[in-house]
């Protein structure tokens, strides 16, 4: 017993090891893309559209071109026959869809520089390259663009109306796609026959991710080899290399190398192709010098993909005694002026198929109108699609509970998929892999002190405060995904992940992964898997990634997939190494493989002191390659590509407790309890950080964040003075707990965890505030002013 316990304690999988990369961050030594400036670098600046919708009448670059230090001024006309439009590679699956054109017949996603027309406020129109950043900045100011403003449309429902301004000739009525899932007739009938029907209009408002690091790109061209190198803030370097080479630059794949250094946060935004990426490469070749571009915060707000933005009509039907019988969602998704690289897929499948949440609901139906309007292109934001689905369901459940006079926790427990019902087909296209939803909710309620909430409410009232409690339960599809399945969801590409384990003759290990960290401690958490399998010290493992010339192909970090799809690849590659070493040891020891024991870095035959070899000795022997078992290849170098059999479905329940000051409408988050289940946890410290950050992201949307455009498509919230993101004083410490339900879809049992805790957070906050002030609904962001006005309008408890 004692021995087993010791072995358990020494396991690196599951240990809260301090992330090794943190030292470089804390010392300011870690290199980000904007820190990379090769000798002779020129600087590019972009002139972005000033209009939401306008025709470009004339561009006068003569003054700018003659300014000091200016090396190039490039307009859309200059590159029209040299750079192809960007592609869109995740389209609404299984339905007819319409896109701007691309000459190769793939869905187009807009031009590198605007051609004749601009369709959103941040669209790049002119690029200037100069010897210094300041010179480029001056020259951009000297470019004169004459626009003829066109009528704009920013609301997706208005964009579908007769006579609305048309954005793309190839997209009739501005409708990218009408997409549905589920059982329409059954759902409609269940609603028509229901004892109780709850209807809500929800605006899941547009948000701006705002990673702290604005995007950047550095292009280099080597005339000696005719090869390009792009350093960029890309969370999908291999994918972006492929799309840029094949579909934008039109160069051989072999001629482009993409390197992503450290990435300063992404939350979904850096998995997209942006015009600056091909531009710096094109201009580097033309000018014979490296070309660097670093975005500003204002540029980020106007051009980096934005999140959420679903306008919804949602309906829940149920019985008087609390059984939910149907849920229906009609959603208008605002794609913006162009499709982003994967935006249309995010806006449809990830939201629509998720609306029934953790509940067993006989009839469910979702329909999404994906619509182009004159705002910034839509992409993913942490928890994308699933957060919007959870928000609508959790608001509906609370309204339903209030309507029939039942406890919202009890209603949830009554309707959750029972733990013995997995795998569970949710009727909308997802098959939930494993879970125990009621247990997670009960634990959250217990940690929140739910049973004593009435007393707490009364005490708050004595202090003149209105206390409210909000529950939010969720299940979030993660681990994208099985490639064949994703192709049916409209993904134009594979969604597997990879790992290479190479053991050096010294016994040290290079672990190279195909995915790309944007702050998830990959250099530590993946090494933990290899250290666990090979029973070696973490210090001998070095993790490499994100250079397409060195790393095996991978699809990148998004949809909480790196660990739950890449992790199993690391595990399999490490196992292959171990198995080969065991086979080699057996040959050297002249025994059967089953007689070889491996423990703490030593291969041995138990009871035979002469037959032992250390991990490093064996690595060296395989490096020399002398007297190997016939047929065995020298060296230890294994690559594995893992394509999971299905997605994985983390879940959980969150409880928020707020106090509202009725005299000011101010909201204080008193307590926040999160119980999440992401299966076995590889590094609890790292996951704790992901969960805490995720929750704050959701709280930001609930309380303070909103991207606002005026009717002409002008962005009114275009910097951090006008767009609020949560600050340290806005949140208390959270109470975190977890249950552990392994996924059957990978050998580690792991599920996604990078964004899952964002998914329920906004609804927990909204539910708590509605409970506190006794209103049916209040739109996000729920500001003190809205709360105060709601109270003035007669809300009482």
């Amino acid at each position: 017993m004692t021995e087993m316990k010791t072995a358990q304690q020494q396991r690196t999988f599951g240990a809260s090891l301090r992330p090794r990369e943190d030292v470089g961050f804390l010392r300011g030594e870690a290199i980000f893309t904007a820190d990379y400036t090769p000798p002779g670098t020129l600087h590019m600046e972009l002139l972005r559209s000033e209009h939401g919708h306008a025709r470009i009448v004339d561009i006068d670059t003569t003054v700018a071109a003659a300014m000091p230090g200016v090396r190039a001024v490039v307009t859309g006309a200059d590159i029209a026959d040299k750079l192809l439009p960007l592609p869109c590679v995740w389209i609404p699956g299984g339905v007819e869809s319409h896109f701007p054109p691309h000459p190769y017949g793939v869905p187009g996603a807009g031009f590198v520089l605007a051609q004749e027309r601009v369709r959103f406020i941040g669209e790049p129109v002119v690029a200037v390259v100069a010897e210094t950043v300041y010179q480029a900045h001056d020259a951009i100011k000297a470019v004169r663009v004459e626009y003829e403003p066109l009528p704009a449309v920013t609301d997706p429902r208005e964009a579908l109306a007769e006579g609305a301004p048309l954005l793309h000739e190839a997209v009739p009525g501005n409708l990218n796609a009408y997409w549905t899932c589920g059982d329409k007739d059954g759902t409609d009938a269940a609603i028509a026959e229901a004892e109780v029907v709850i209807e809500l209009d929800i605006v899941n408002q547009r948000t701006i991710n705002n990673p702290l690091e604005p995007r950047a790109a550095v292009g280099e061209y080597d005339p000696a080899t005719d090869e390009y190198t792009l350093h960029a803030t890309s969370q999908s370097p291999h994918n972006h290399r492929f799309l840029l080479a094949a579909l934008v630059l039109g160069i051989p794949f072999n001629k482009l190398r993409l390197v992503a250094t450290n990435i300063g946060g992404s939350f979904g935004t850096k998995g997209y192709l942006y015009p600056d990426m091909p531009l710096v490469l094109f201009l580097a070749k033309r000018l014979g010098a490296p070309v660097k571009w670093v975005d500003t915060r204002n540029g980020l707000m106007r051009s980096t993909v934005q999140g959420r933005d679903h306008t919804q009509k949602v309906v829940l039907a149920g019985t008087r005694d609390g059984k939910i019988t149907a849920v229906r969602c009609t959603s208008w998704s605002n794609l913006g002026g162009y499709p982003s690289t994967i935006g249309p897929g995010v806006a449809t499948a990830l939201m629509g198929r998720s609306i029934s949440g953790p509940y067993e609901i006989p009839h469910a139906f979702a329909e999404v109108y994906a619509v182009f309007t004159n705002v910034v292109p839509l992409g993913a934001q942490r928890g994308s699609g699933r957060a919007e689905a959870t928000y609508l369901m959790e608001r509906l459940v609370d309204r339903y509970a209030a309507e029939i006079g039942k406890d919202p926790a009890a209603i949830r427990l009554q309707n959750m998929v029972p733990a013995d019902r997995f795998p569970y087909d949710n009727g909308l296209g997802w098959e939930y892999d494993s879970g125990d939803y009621p247990t997670a909710l009960r634990l959250a309620l217990q940690r929140a002190g739910y049973d004593d909430i009435a007393a707490e409410r009364a005490k708050a009232k004595e202090r003149g405060k209105l206390l409210g409690v909000g529950i939010s339960s969720y299940v979030a599809i993660c681990g994208v995904g099985p490639s064949t399945r994703m192709s049916k969801e409209g993904m134009l590409g594979g969604t597997w992940e990879s790992a290479n384990v190479r053991v050096h003759p010294s016994g040290e290990i290079a672990l190279t992964i195909g995915s790309q960290s944007t702050g998830q401690s990959h250099e530590t958490v993946f090494a933990q898997i290899t250290a666990d399998v090979l029973q070696v010290d973490m210090d001998v493992i070095r993790v490499y990634r994100s250079d397409t010339q060195k790393a095996p192909y991978g699809q990148g970090t998004y949809g909480s997939r790196s660990y739950s799809v890449g992790g199993p690849a690391v595990h399999l590659a490490s196992m292959k190494i171990l198995n080969k070493m065991r086979e080699a040891a057996a040959y050297f020891f002249e025994v059967a493989e089953s007689a070889v024991d491996y423990r703490d870095g030593v291969f041995s035959v138990p009871g035979d002191a002469d037959r032992t070899k250390t991990f490093a000795d064996l690595a060296m022997a395989l490096w020399y390659g002398w007297n190997l078992k016939p047929g065995m290849e020298p060296t230890l170098d294994e690559t594995v590509f893992f394509d999971p059999p299905d997605f994985n479905y983390p879940f959980g329940s969150h409880v928020a407790i707020v106090e509202v000051d009725p005299t000011t409408g101010e909201i204080e988050l008193v307590r926040y309890v999160a119980v999440d289940d992401s299966g076995p946890i590889g590094n609890p410290l790292v996951v704790q950080g992901q969960v805490e950050g995720s929750i704050v992201h959701g709280i930001g949307q609930a309380l303070i964040e909103a991207a606002r455009f005026d009717a002409d498509g002008q962005l009114l919230t275009d910097d951090l003075r006008t767009y609020a993101i949560p600050r340290a004083a806005d949140v208390p410490f959270f109470v975190l707990d977890r249950t552990v339900t392994p996924s059957p879809h990978n050998q580690l049992g792991v599920k996604g965890s990078g964004e899952t805790a964002t998914v329920p957070a906004a609804a927990a906050i909204s539910n708590a505030i509605c409970d506190a002030i006794g209103v049916a609904d209040i739109p996000m962001p729920i500001t003190p002013e809205k709360v105060w006005r709601a109270l003035q309008d007669g809300a009482t408890r």
Partner: protein
């Protein structure tokens, strides 16, 4: 214009345009890229350095207005030995107080001043002080926890319940 200042203890003289920002002098002219630029408008705090001992946003200061100043960046504030961490940085490493790492140098510089002014800040003191430093990854918890842990250790006290890390 010629401007002279002290950066990380060494005299620096540079020809700068009057409009050049201090952060650009530090990053582009002097190659001190530990200081980051996140927002250009003085909101995010990624560019915090010390000017004459006080934390300041170097994107909101002209290089020429730092004439004669004593400027310290993260490169001058960290221990000299490779991979060395000071007491605060050690706690931040222990609590995983950095994820993507972009806001981190600014956070460290800002917290150094807090701890100099107030060696025993309360949770509220820390949260209020960090108003000028935005982080999108951590939700601030691990950062605040690190400072509280530092204070608790200095006092020889255990952290209060609920603050322990995984």
């Amino acid at each position: 214009m010629r401007t002279g200042l002290t950066v990380n203890g060494a005299p620096v003289a540079a020809d700068v345009e009057p409009r050049m920002l201090l952060v650009d002098l530090l990053r582009d002219t002097l190659g001190l890229t530990g200081t980051k630029v996140g927002c250009d408008t003085g909101q995010c705090g990624s560019c915090v350095v010390h000017v004459n001992g006080l934390s300041a946003k170097s994107c909101a200061i002209l290089a020429v207005s730092a004439e004669g100043a004593d400027v310290t960046t993260i490169e001058g504030a960290r221990p000299g030995e490779p991979r060395g961490l000071d007491a605060l940085q050690t706690e931040l490493a222990d609590t995983h107080g950095t994820q993507c790492g972009f806001c981190t140098p600014g956070m460290v510089m800002s917290l150094h001043e807090l701890l100099r002014r107030n060696p025993k800040p309360s949770e509220a003191d820390i949260r209020t002080w960090l108003t000028g430093n935005l982080c999108r990854c951590t939700g601030y918890h691990s950062v605040v926890r690190a400072v509280l842990q530092l204070v608790a250790k200095a006092d020889g006290q255990a952290l209060s319940a609920g603050l322990e890390v995984s």
